[in-house]
């Protein structure tokens, strides 16, 4: 798909066209799921995160001023949803009291992707924010200034956290 056409699909999605949105989503689906999977470590949680992020994204897509920025905007939403999930596993992103929400059923989806335990454990050593930064940098391939923008933190902080995180992961990477 040409970048030009991808932008046009985003513009079309902004009018409420669900099909157009789904077409744009399909282009990024694999990367989004991969990010969520590495972040949460569990297939079922990753699915939940992607679904929630995608719903939020569609709901608010009309507010996106630059269609060309859809990619980073989508990842930003996903990164925040994932972080939220990790910190408050029972929460859903809607205003319902925690007690009223039934425990999410951890279904085994057909695609039960099991990740290398070693790598997963290593990532779990990182703080939620460090994990976001590492995955945005490595899977999303964003520059630190872009990550800074997405997470609302200074780019110097991004660089130093990335550096510290890579050092923490050093023993499994060498």
């Amino acid at each position: 798909m040409k970048k030009h056409d991808l932008e046009k699909l985003v513009v079309e999605a902004q009018t409420g066209n669900g099909k157009a949105f789904a077409a744009v989503y399909s282009f990024y689906a694999a990367d989004l799921y991969r990010f969520a999977l590495w972040y949460t470590g569990k297939s079922a949680d990753a699915e939940d995160c992607v679904q929630e992020a995608v719903l939020l994204s569609f709901r608010n897509i009309a507010s996106l001023k630059k269609p060309a920025s859809f990619h980073s905007w989508m990842f930003k939403i996903l990164a925040n949803v994932c972080k939220s999930k990790l910190l408050h596993p029972a929460d859903r992103l809607c205003s319902v009291p925690i007690d009223a929400i039934p425990e999410p059923v951890s279904e085994h989806s057909e695609a039960d992707n099991t990740l290398s335990a070693e790598l997963r454990d290593a990532l779990d050593r990182l703080s939620p924010e460090e994990k976001q930064i590492v995955l945005l940098s490595v899977i999303g391939r964003y520059k630190s200034s872009e990550i800074a923008d997405m997470l609302g933190i200074p780019s110097g902080t991004v660089r130093s956290k990335l550096s510290r995180s890579l050092q923490k992961l050093r023993d499994i990477l060498q």
Binding site: M1, K2, D5, K8, L9, V11, E12, Q14, T15, G16, G18, K19, A20, F21, A22, A23, Y25, S26, A29, A30, Y33, R34, L37, S43, E47, V50, Q51, V54, L55, F58, R59, N60, I61, A62, S63, S109, E110, A111, N113, L115, S116, L119, V134, L135, S137, V138, I139, K143, S144, S145, A148, G152, P154, S155, R159, S163, L166, Q167, L169, Q174
Partner: protein
């Protein structure tokens, strides 16, 4: 260094794991999910198709009228071809246009789209299927009046400068070939385009600048215009804009989403006489079907390109036969002059380049700005196209193609360049000759990889060169350069440059190509093209950050405008590099000027040449204030280049907007010793030597 390696290793590990997208996250299920729970907030308005029916009726009526008129002239019935041929010599000015080849190609493609949609969506009730042959419409008989070129009197140069003060001009790629921009300068007045307004400001006295007039650009039928750029030729100001059309076209991403339709645009060209700056008058306008692609001014003529998407109907629309008829009526691009009726481009001026996958046309309009009473020369090619490189007599159009697989199993694994090398992405280059009669196709070539921007292409003597980045089929991604002869045959090739990286900047200077690629660091490559059959990599310089725009200074120096960094990546700083390329095997960075938390506008038109050693760039500073709020401010930076290094002359701020709105359209300009920093808020004037602010005017 260490972190760089760690990151590469982590990337390898994370991306190596085989991951299957779960069914719940398939595009189909997601679409279902948003339909059930979606609820988009404040959706943007769609353009209505209210005018469509009126236009269809009008165009059908126009066809009938033309046929009747022609029949009257030729004294034949529409079915009598033999007599038509005999009498053709009488009607020498009116040529029969035959669109049957185009129409059948387009209808065949529509049939394919419908078939593959139905296959992937099961039975579709109410869908009336039809055969490829539809009812024959009377042959369109739109005449192509071959007009002789009007007078070629050179436009008056209306410079009101009282002395010979030098003034800024658009930084163009090819000397003598003008490019459009949001700012133009005639040595006294500045013309600035922003937010669909053109401001004409008298800057003769920088302490007392005045906006003498404003042109508000509006579209027809209440549609908004999206103005792109302007040209100033003597006392004529030309503006080119996009306007939403009433056409939609079915977008075919994957077979399951063939229902997607998107709106197409028309391009509007408006020409104003600005001999009286306080009272600009529109003297010519033209509408051309298709979204604005690019333009140039060569030899007093405006060459404007648009891309017309064939309006394949939304595949869910039933009534196949009706759809076919509508499609047949709109499968050829049209144009109108000065608000007149829409005219189809003559079939003998349409070159069919892609019969199997007819998705779009690239339309060229050649308008003589010195004689606006003459008819524009219109041509089109049935092909795709996104970028141009233009000399004063040749146009090169580049179009990208990506190998892909759709959900329904159509596609290709690779694309071959003209020498049989396989790539997953490729560029088709089409060559056209520009003459007074119009823009006519000559030859084409397919090369591997995809170009970055217009500077990736160059003509030198009778050779054409292009630098691209791409992935070999079953191989790695790298950069490469091709040299083609005047018939577009590959003469030379060098590949395998910078494995795993992307081109970030390219500049051809005579026999040398300077290439900047980047992943973590920026190697600057120097490639020798003096033996066109054997391009050779001469030298490489690894350094942090990367350049986005390269500018030659004299014989031995190259200025690079871009981004700074460390050896593990960029660091959010803006950088100007000065490269010494006197020894091609050993390029060196002589000096650099770095500004943290900033970036330079990488558009080549934001780069300004003041004199042979002094240049200007537009900089945006970003910073966080005490409460972590993000702020931006824009300024023009002037710097001198010497054999020793870069010396910054000054930083000249643009006017700050009130409130939160930041005006991103920003340029520097100069007249004599006065520097102007211009944006959508207004003009700030400075003395270039003392850096003292002289005055300002707000729009």
């Amino acid at each position: 260094m260490k972190n760089n390696k760690l990151k590469k290793e982590l990337s390898r590990k994370l991306l190596a794991e085989e991951i299957v997208l779960p069914e719940s996250l398939s595009a189909e299920n997601i679409e279902k999910l948003i339909r059930e729970q979606g609820g988009i907030v404040n959706p943007k308005r769609k353009q209505s198709g209210k005018g469509k029916i009126i236009r269809l009726v009008a165009s059908a009526a126009a066809v009938i009228v033309c046929v009747i008129a022609l029949a009257a002239v030729l004294n034949v019935t529409t079915g009598d071809r033999a007599l038509q041929k005999q009498n053709a010599v009488i009607a020498e000015k009116t040529q029969n246009s035959d669109y049957s080849k185009i129409e059948s190609a387009v209808l065949a493609k529509y049939q394919d789209m419908v078939n593959s949609y139905r296959e992937s969506n099961g039975l579709f009730d109410g869908f009336v299927s039809g055969s490829k042959d539809t009812a024959a419409l009377p042959e369109s008989a739109v005449g192509n009046t071959s007009s002789t070129n009007g007078s070629t009197a050179a436009g008056e140069t209306d410079l009101l400068t009282e002395d010979d003060a030098a003034f800024s001009q658009t930084n163009v790629q090819v000397e003598g070939v003008d490019e459009g921009d949001i700012i133009k300068n005639d040595g006294r007045y500045l013309y600035f385009l922003h937010d669909n307004l053109i401001e004409i400001a008298d800057c003769a006295d920088p302490k007392n600048m005045k906006v003498v007039s404003q042109i508000q650009l509006t579209g027809s039928d209440g549609y908004t215009l999206y103005a792109n750029e302007m040209y100033l030729t003597g006392s004529t100001l030309t503006v080119i804009a996009n306007q939403m059309s009433e056409r939609d076209y079915a977008y075919s991403a994957y077979a399951a989403y063939d229902c997607c339709v998107m709106p197409d645009y028309d391009t509007v060209i408006k020409v104003y006489d600005v001999s009286d700056k306080a009272n600009p008058k529109m003297v010519y306008s033209q509408l051309v079907n298709g979204e604005y692609l690019s333009s140039r001014v060569v030899g007093g003529k405006l060459l404007c390109l648009t891309r017309y998407a064939i309006p394949y109907p939304e595949l869910e629309k039933k009534n196949f036969e009706k759809n076919c008829e509508e499609l047949k009526n709109s499968c050829v691009p049209e144009y109108s002059v000065n608000g007149g009726e829409m005219i189809k481009i003559a079939s003998d001026r349409i070159k069919i380049l892609d019969e199997k996958e007819p998705t779009s046309y690239v339309v060229t309009a050649l308008i003589d700005l010195d004689d606006l009473t003459s008819e524009p020369k219109m041509n089109a090619s049935l092909s795709d196209g996104y970028e141009i490189y233009c000399t004063n007599d040749t146009l090169f159009l580049a179009s990208s193609e990506y190998a892909y697989w759709t959900a329904s199993g159509e596609g290709k694994d690779y694309i071959e360049d003209d020498n049989g090398r396989k790539f997953t992405e490729a560029t088709h280059i089409y060559q056209f000759a520009i003459s007074d009669e119009g823009v006519f196709y000559k030859a084409s070539a397919t090369v591997g990889g995809v170009w970055l921007n217009q500077f990736s292409m160059d003509q030198y003597g009778d050779e054409f060169r292009i630098a691209t980045s791409g992935s070999e089929y079953n191989g790695t991604r790298y950069s490469m350069v091709y040299v083609l002869d005047k018939n577009m045959k590959i003469r030379g090739y060098l590949g395998g440059i910078a494995d795993g990286e992307e081109i970030y900047a390219a500049r051809f200077m005579g026999k040398t190509l300077y290439l900047v690629t980047f992943y973590q660091t920026d190697p600057l490559f120097v490639i020798d093209l003096s033996d066109s059959k054997n391009p050779v990599l001469k030298g490489e310089l690894k350094l942090p950050g990367f350049s986005s725009y390269l500018h030659p200074v004299g014989e031995n120096l190259v200025v690079g405008i871009g981004v700074g960094g460390t050896m593990s990546g960029t660091d959010g700083s803006a950088k100007i590099s000065l490269f010494d390329v006197s020894d091609p095997c050993n390029p060196k960075e002589l000096d650099n000027y770095t500004v943290p938390d900033a970036w330079f506008d990488s558009d080549h038109r934001a780069f300004m040449t003041v004199d042979e050693d002094t240049f200007g760039v537009v900089m945006t500073n970003c910073s966080y204030n005490a409460s972590y709020e993000y702020q931006e401010s824009m300024s023009v930076i002037l710097f001198d280049v010497t054999d020793e290094g870069i010396a910054v002359k000054g930083q000249y701020r643009t006017l700050q907007p009130e409130g939160d709105l930041l005006s991103y359209d920003c340029r520097g300009a100069f007249i004599g010793d006065t520097l102007f920093a211009v944006n959508g808020v207004g003009i700030a004037a400075y003395n270039m030597n003392s850096n003292e602010k002289l005055g300002e005017v707000r729009f």
